[in-house]
């Protein structure tokens, strides 16, 4: 039996004035997948993420999460459906303590998957070295601790689909490796993860499938080996396409 689809977009379009940020985006992510999205700067990756989680509305097209159309749904309602997102720039609440940051995410509704969600959250706290009783202000944390804190905050709501926008930005190589190991483990427990990333070493390490965006369109999609060996993909990164 085919694995069910957890995230699907149909002919998604978005323009900012004369600039096309997303054009006829059709893509599917299946339950339990770890998908990476890559593409040059301005390819439309973050815009696509912002449409998926409801920060920005699409001009046309449809978005489905776990089979339910969410195209016009408010962002907080999508979170209740099980979507979690981290931003390109860290947005933990700097004025609040680590404890408060971890306590803020909305308590998840009891469901069949809530035990798995609690286990994932506990695992992330342990591996990232975060103490849910820590009264240290988030503003006093280092960059990597803030990045990990935000991932843990998303996991605190027991999501079924996690969207991470450049989770390794600014991290040292050992910190990137630790992040990769955590994401792989979380994915192995059945959590669906979609990651926007520029670090190709990280992508090769974690991705099962890679989607390449270019000029607001899906340029290529395939396994890591297929994508990294594609001359066309190499050419857009070098600015020849």
């Amino acid at each position: 039996m085919e694995t069910p689809i957890i995230l699907e977009t149909c002919s998604l379009n978005k323009r900012f004035g004369g600039v096309t940020a997303a054009e006829n985006i059709n893509f599917k992510v299946r339950v339990g997948e770890l998908r990476c999205m890559i593409g040059p700067n301005g390819a439309g990756k973050s815009t696509l993420f912002s449409m998926l989680c409801g920060i920005q509305g699409a001009d046309s097209g449809q978005i489905f999460i776990a089979g339910r159309e969410v195209t016009r749904m408010q962002a907080f309602r999508r979170v209740k459906l099980g979507v979690g997102l981290t931003f390109q720039t860290n947005r933990a609440f700097h004025e609040l303590s680590v404890r408060e940051n971890l306590a803020i995410p909305r308590a998840p509704v009891k469901s069949a998957g809530s035990e798995a969600g609690a286990a994932r959250f506990a695992y992330a706290l342990e591996v990232f070295g975060l103490d849910p009783k820590d009264e240290t202000r988030a503003a006093e944390l280092s960059h990597n601790q803030l990045q990990w804190l935000e991932i843990a905050m998303v996991l605190a709501a027991h999501p079924i689909l996690v969207l991470l926008d450049e989770p390794t930005a600014g991290l040292a190589s050992d910190e990137t490796s630790r992040t990769a190991a955590v994401l792989k483990h979380l994915n192995s427990t059945g959590l669906t993860i979609v990651v926007v990333e520029h670090d190709m070493a990280f992508v090769k390490e974690v991705a099962q499938t890679v989607t390449v965006l270019h000029q607001g369109q899906i340029f290529a999609e395939g396994t890591v080996a297929e994508i990294t060996s594609s001359e066309q993909v190499k050419s857009i990164y070098l600015g020849r396409a």
């Binding site: 989680c53 408010q74 907080f76 979170v79 997102l85 947005r91 303590s97 803020i104 995410p105 998303v154």
Partner: protein, 346 residues
């Protein structure tokens, strides 16, 4: 019991050491004994300072803790005051009149705030526009009330009175006990203490933490599953009802209200109290509201025509040299100089 102690003593407001709590307890005791040492005229003056505290606290809640500045919260002060006058004034001799007026005033201003808040927050109006909208609302209300002179502008037997205002508003009473003179002072004091501790507990609760999170980053909070529009609207209504509470006490204190109470000058005052004390602390706003009201009264009563200029200058000085508020920055300085062990007592 432990959770109540945690809610009162949490990090959402300044003051956590044993010495702070001792000092606060002494201050409250002194305030209770104050009327026994002074004339009813002086007690009445201090009651006036006290009755403005809920308005200041509402502003701290909305602006300091939720990050939304209203420049027209006195509109709710006025709505509650006028409603009390209308309801209680139409029930003369009825001991239930004042309590009905209190409830009606609070519910009325809460309803108006809910309607206003719904349109502002559910339309996701940008934050910098909200002070303008709220100011326009209160100025419109002032203009409307100003043209209500004449007998055609009466509700039941109560005249709205135009710019002359509504007069003869009854004192609050419970059964046979009329809250005037010293009793009114204690009535205000108990309300102020209840508002302060109630809000301190609210801001230390999960609701308060989420409110602060919304102030810090609305989008992040929404993407953690919170309907920030509903939260902001709820805080707006609560802060408006606190302003309304001040309005109710004001009309009982002076037995009158005029449209100037919802005018530009009055609209600016709670913003000044909150900014000067420090908008992120409830206690700081309590202190600054009391001190600045005392200062305004003292300057005005000594014939100083420039009382408001001095208050305005104080705001400018605060913004330039004490951006987080004078009381808050003073408390931070004291906290830094305290021995480490005392600081850790939370």
């Amino acid at each position: 019991m432990k959770s109540i102690v945690h809610l009162i003593g949490g990090e959402a407001d300044i003051g956590h050491t044993r010495w702070f709590w001792i000092g606060l307890a002494v201050a409250i005791v002194l305030l209770f004994f104050y009327p026994t040492q002074v004339s009813s005229f002086r007690a009445s003056n201090v009651a006036f300072y006290l009755l403005n505290v809920p308005l200041g606290l509402g502003m701290a809640l909305l602006w300091g803790y939720c990050g939304v500045l209203s420049f027209g919260h006195v509109a709710y002060f006025g709505i509650a005051g006028y409603l009390y006058g209308i309801i209680a004034g139409n029930m003369p001799g009825n001991p239930l009149g004042p309590i009905t007026g209190m409830i009606g005033g609070l519910v009325g201003c809460g309803l108006v705030a809910a309607i206003f808040g719904y349109f502002v927050f559910y339309a996701r109006v940008q934050k910098w526009i909200i002070p303008i909208l709220t100011l326009v609302f209160t100025l419109l209300l002032e203009t409307f009330l100003g043209q209500t002179a004449g007998y055609q502008w009466r509700v039941g037997s109560v005249l709205l009175g135009g710019y002359n205002g509504m007069t003869g508003i009854p004192w609050f009473q419970l059964g046979g006990l009329v809250f005037e003179g010293y009793a009114f002072y204690y009535f205000c004091l108990v309300i102020v203490i209840a508002c302060y501790f109630g809000l301190r507990m609210l801001m230390n609760s999960r609701f308060g933490q989420v409110t602060i999170a919304i102030r810090e980053d609305e989008l992040r909070a929404e993407l953690l599953g919170y309907d920030i529009r509903a939260r902001q609207a709820a805080i707006f209504v609560l802060s408006a009802m606190l302003a309304g509470l001040s309005g109710l006490l004001y009309v009982q204190w002076g037995n009158y209200i005029t449209p100037s109470q919802v005018g530009l000058l009055q609209a600016a005052l709670p913003v000044v109290w909150t900014a000067v004390g420090g908008r992120t602390s409830l206690l700081a706003v309590v202190i600054s509201t009391l001190v600045l009201n005392w200062l305004t009264y003292t300057l005005s009563s000594q014939g100083n025509q420039y009382a408001m200029v001095i208050i305005g200058a104080l705001l400018v000085v605060t913004m330039m040299f004490f951006p987080r508020g004078i009381v808050v920055m003073l408390a931070e300085t004291i906290g830094r100089r305290m021995p480490r062990r005392t600081r850790a007592e939370t």
